[in-house]
Symmetry: C2
Subunit: 424 residues, 2 copies
């Protein structure tokens, strides 16, 4: 890339950022009804543009096929009429969510006489970088909009036409509600340098949310000069304690592994207390083998049933996202917690136990974004948690941890009410 | 610096980080009583080491004098018996605070049958970089300890001996409570390269809190590879509205400017509505001049009373931290908010008004960490807000905004309680 091109990408991104910053001020002051109107008018625009949307998506799909994208990527890239229905339903749901902005909590009188509380406010400008799934464009934009933020969206290059067409619908929705069209801007370039600029403009962007593969997220985290809400791995564990109920253990373990394989909250390693290992694992291994799940176990697991492969050190770290499960027999709760601490990714970990003290210790001592007792790790999800929506799952501890809904896209400022009060 | 030295500083910091990470696990599991015991035993150790502490401080002061430190720096560096009393009182106050860790909130049943809530947890390892004020060593360590974190402390090089002596007292307190001494580590080096390492070890450090001059904070923010809780400027405004009560306006404006000059929550610019400018400003200017405050005003301010200097564009951006005040007459609430948005630092801004709608708009639309009605900006403070303590004031929006107490040193994880529940 020449210096001239780089300069123009920089200028382009700066202009986008400046417009986003200006729009964010108007979005922060927008009332609930106006924001909801923008969401509902976006639905109207999508309904009116179904053909153009599918046509734009068709162009992306054609180009993708010529580029040799694999079937899974083409599937994610595709916008079917049914997926458009899902996009519309998502917009309706976000419109129906309570507006978090302006909510005042904990307003209390202090000894000085002033009243101090906290008001929920937007973060400002949210930058979202994601792969070639066009429905994410609308999903992410709608959540940011409802939380009173302006948004810069950078979708995968393969979805450029689809994203531009969807962006036009959102712009039309914003306009119809009297909000600035620049409140949601989809980058019109697929130049990778644009991403580098976007994550390094703290004056215009308040937070970056990367959604996608680990490589992308690591690159963004490394280059970012602004805070990042990110999710690296989902190496989730279920620990079947010595005092686990048999049925609950079978049910939770099978669901955590086999409900869906390619998701971040699926179990990747099963830990079982030695005292119950044979009783619990024999039927489990049968069910897993019947489902075609490859099992890689420690020596004690392999002694229980044939057909279990030898697990290596790398297996304990692995996020398979596939019908593969690592199993380790442990001697105690402490050993289970140590294993999770050492090999886990602080995403979601569950214990199955009937013991009150054991459950309480697991809840307190396992340092993951979701910690569960007698429930499948698959519940780690913004909708299941009642957030009404989810922009991602954070495995960081800073700002937002676990499933991130509208609240994670906001901050709180202090409000102080007095009657001419001064400091003594 | 040679490569060998750099390598050894890196090794040293990595070792410190590793020890801090290990200690943070034990701190996270420590119960309230144990943490409080460590704080109270630190008091015992300080009481027993008063002479050694003052002696160590004496060495720092001597070295400081020889280095030619100015009077203000030497004053901040000094540990007097009275300041030690303050340090002890601070420890007692932190011990008396409620333990935030383990608190579960919002535990609610979901339609699926699972119960979902949030548990407050420590951030992990907190790195604090500060200037040569030895009392900050104990203050920062005690807050991090109470919030269940491990801490790396890097104080100003001039306070090295004082900080080491105080660190020994804290270590003794931790030991007496059965907690790892490595839960609070004061860097034994004054090498600046150590700071560079400290802010770039995301595997060992979860957050950096720089306290000090703008130069330091800007450098840290630039170099950090971990989140930073920071506070840049305090360009605070008071806006006297057309419908302000005369007495409240005089009182709030005088207090915000003259209660203390060198603090971040002091008013630096006064905005006054044109309709009341003469009535409000004539007596205010007299009082300010009587107090020796230099006033730099806009043309309309200068027309009201002689002795007002001409304000330049730079004055609207200035954080004087001194007996200087900029004054501007504005035509409307909108102009006032625009001025604050453009020139302010999003720290603390107040309006004086009796008008309900005007007050409400100001609260909502001014995007600062503290927004006040009829109260002095000087109230922006962790103690005044009832936080019980303050580790700093954040002018960022991410994670913590405004005065940061124990809560800002924590995060929340999700807890899920089920009874063998699985995802459908």
């Amino acid at each position: 890339m020449t210096d001239v091109q780089q300069a123009s990408i920089k200028d382009y991104m700066q202009a986008l950022g400046q417009a986003a910053r200006a729009a964010s001020r108007r979005m922060a002051a927008a009332d609930t009804n106006t924001k909801n109107l923008a969401l509902l008018q976006t639905i109207t625009a999508i309904e009116a543009s179904r053909d153009q949307l599918l046509e734009a998506n068709h162009r992306d799909l054609e180009a993708g096929r010529q580029k040799g994208l694999d079937a899974a990527m083409l599937d994610r890239l595709e916008l079917t009429p049914k997926r458009l229905d899902g996009v519309i339903e998502g917009l309706r749901q976000v419109a129906a969510l309570a507006d978090p902005i302006g909510e005042i909590t904990d307003l209390r009188y202090m000894p000085s006489g002033i009243q101090v509380g906290r008001m929920r406010v937007p973060l400002g400008v949210v930058g979202i970088i994601y792969e070639s799934r066009p429905n994410v464009t609308v999903e992410a934009a709608s959540l940011c909009l409802k939380a009173g933020n302006a948004t810069l969206l950078r979708g995968g290059s393969e979805a450029l036409h689809s994203n531009q067409a969807l962006a036009a619908c959102i712009a039309s929705g914003l306009k119809a509600a009297g909000l600035p069209e620049t409140a949601v801007q989809v980058l019109a370039t697929t130049d990778r340098a644009a991403v580098g600029e976007m994550v390094a403009m703290p004056q215009y962007v308040d937070v970056i949310i990367p959604r996608g593969g680990k490589g992308l997220i690591e690159r963004i985290s490394r280059e970012a000069r602004v805070p990042v809400i990110k999710h690296l791995d989902g190496v989730c564990h279920v620990y079947i304690d010595a005092e686990a109920d048999f049925d609950k253990a079978q049910r939770v373990a099978m669901n955590a592994k086999t409900h869906r394989y390619g998701v971040c909250n699926a179990m990747e390693t099963l830990l079982v207390h030695f005292n119950v290992a044979e009783k619990m694992l024999l039927p489990l291994l049968e069910q897993l083998q019947a489902r075609g799940v490859e099992v890689r176990g420690c020596a004690r697991t392999r002694a229980i049933k044939s057909g279990v492969l030898q697990a290596t050190e790398a297996d304990w770290y692995a996020e398979y996202l596939a019908p593969i499960l690592a199993i380790r027999v442990v001697d105690s709760l402490d050993e289970a917690i140590d294993h999770i601490t050492r090999y886990g990714s602080q995403h979601t970990d569950a214990i199955v136990t009937e013991n009150y003290t054991t459950a309480r210790r697991f809840l307190r001592e396992v340092d993951s974004s979701s910690v569960m007792v007698n429930a499948s790790t698959r519940f780690a999800d913004g909708f299941e948690y009642g957030l009404g929506a989810e922009i991602g799952i954070s495995t960081d501890k800073f700002h937002a941890r676990g499933p991130v809904g509208l609240e994670g896209l906001t901050s709180q400022k202090y409000v102080v009410l007095g009657d001419g009060h001064v400091r003594r």
